[in-house]
Symmetry: C2
Subunit: 132 residues, 2 copies
DNA sequence: TCTAAATTTATAATAATTCTAAACAAGGGA
DNA sequence: TCCCTTGTTTAGAATTATTATAAATTTAGA
């Protein structure tokens, strides 16, 4: 099964590779449009699915409505700012020891771990606390 | 602001308290129906939101389409079986040291951490490996 | 070149959830 | 008690993200 990168798939991949954030499918669509590539919605979703399947991008489900996509393939975790919604990356790895304990507790054969942290990012915490 | 537990909210809460799994809104709806409580969908969602806001239940976003709800309030993490979709709990806590490093790396003020592990549960791994 | 398979497209469909407006209920004064 | 305000439930419409469908198009291989 060899890689079949059509021009639309290539364009989607490039958007993700040049992004320094974590765009949703709609974001990807917008950025393609901005550069003159008008594809059908289905094509963008299809491309994202294809690229995910062949392992060129990763789908992030961070508990928001929409999935985000990421071309950076090293395994990493994420922090979401509860004030502004910004998402940043956490590159340090979960201690193997902790994963071992979790596997033992649950009796699962673990394949993957994903941590979503929540907090307030530095720019939001500079502004005075919310009134609420 | 005092607690306002209407009978529908109470019924929803009770379903969650008696559940030993992690029901979705639709599951809650079904269980209510099964016991003769037919509420509007909006009401179930409303109740779940209210109960979450006052801190009696927790909304779990595990990367599936639908949110799951849980009346168990101690903080804990989850494992999802990639074969059968079953969800189990992980009660061990993330090492504070790791969280500290994450806070340092990201420069966030962290409030909450949620880990979603993926793997194969014991009953699925007993059955011979999938053909795929 | 011809054919079969894969892909794109536009659009319809689905699933989970929220919104809306009307009807209802409850509680606190006058 | 009656009235009024406020909050809640209800049914159904609306929204959002995503997937499915079917026709048209492209691609690759014989």
């Amino acid at each position: 099964m060899k890689l079949n990168l059509t021009m639309q798939r290539k364009a989607v991949l490039e958007v993700l590779q040049h992004a320094h954030d974590h765009p949703t499918a709609a974001d990807v669509m917008d950025r393609l449009r901005a550069q003159g590539n008008v594809f059908a919605y289905g094509t963008v979703y299809n491309s994202l699915r294809y690229l995910t399947e062949v392992g060129l991008v990763k789908e992030l489900k961070l508990g928001e409505a929409a999935s985000r996509y990421d071309a950076k393939m090293e395994d990493h975790h994420h922090v979401v700012c509860t004030r502004c919604g910004r998402v940043d990356e956490v590159t340090i790895e979960l201690p193997a020891e902790w994963l071992g304990k979790a596997a033992q507790e649950t009796n699962y054969e673990l394949h993957h771990a994903s941590v979503v942290l929540e907090g307030v990012c530095s720019s939001c915490s500079v502004q005075n606390s919310p009134s609420k």
